[in-house]
């Protein structure tokens, strides 16, 4: 990602908008004083944060990612419901049919943020918990054999790649 002057300004605007929304939610009033104060504070924070933190926002966060987030959230929500049904069946079964194993998974997603989102999505979906990430290798704990197969199908990875607009190559 190149960081030209224009893109830094663009990301400052996004950051200021997010901060302003957060301010509105926290104050939970629409009094003019609060709105003006919030606008000033969020603009000031966004303009200063680059100097203090060394960067404005993660360069992976663009307007497209924010727009695609609701679609991703709905699909992830469906996966979470399926995951819970699956775990519920295992826990209620009196025989406790588990066969735990630790498997390794290589991902092609670049950057810290997509990897973090991917690891959290793995944790929330059927029978798998991410234990450790080393560069592009993920150690995943699976509860049973069919969970491991489900992980290696790579459906989740495609979802995260769609969210960040990453294409699989090489």
């Amino acid at each position: 990602m190149h960081t030209s002057e224009g893109s830094i300004f663009y990301r400052k605007i996004i950051l200021a908008a997010v901060l302003f929304l957060f301010w509105i939610v926290l104050t939970s009033t629409l009094v003019p004083v609060n709105i003006v104060l919030g606008a000033i504070c969020s603009a000031f924070t966004a303009s200063v944060s680059a100097a203090i933190l060394g960067r404005v926002l993660d360069p992976q966060i663009t307007l497209g990612v924010i727009l695609r987030l609701p679609i991703f959230a709905v699909r992830l929500g469906w996966e979470i419901v399926k995951a819970n049904y699956d775990v519920a069946k295992i826990i209620i079964n009196p025989k406790l049919p588990i066969d735990p194993r630790i498997t390794e998974y290589r991902t092609y997603l670049p950057g810290d943020l997509p990897k973090t989102v991917f690891a959290n999505s793995i944790t929330l979906t059927p029978g798998t918990v991410t234990l450790k990430i080393e560069d592009d290798k993920l150690y995943v704990h699976c509860l049973a054999a069919h969970h491991e197969e489900g992980l290696h199908e790579g459906k989740l990875e495609r979802m995260v790649a769609y969210l960040f607009g990453v294409r699989k190559d090489a």
């Binding site: 979470i80 519920a88 826990i91 588990i98 959290n120 918990v129 991410t130 450790k132």
Partner: protein
Amino acid sequence: MMARDIIAGILCAVGTFFFILGTTGLLRLPDVFSRLHPSTKCDTLGGCSVLIGLMVHSGFSFDTLKLLLIVAFLLVSSATCGHAIGRSAFVKGIPIWKKGLEREE
């Protein structure tokens, strides 16, 4: 008004059911790694379900947005907590439970 209460009641009941399930899993499963599964999944869905039920119950206001914020935070934090605990157990080399290899609970 009535339909809204019924939907909220159903969502709260589902959430409570998943909380009970998570507790059962936490008590029944044999080792740390397996216990991470019910704790991360059932608690997330249970909590989100109850919170969404309350959103439906209260109708739209600024409090709904606050609840939405808590739901989003719960989705992120629950998975990250599971990841942190699992990582510390994995790095410390706690052996994973295998079938037929009975250890003290």
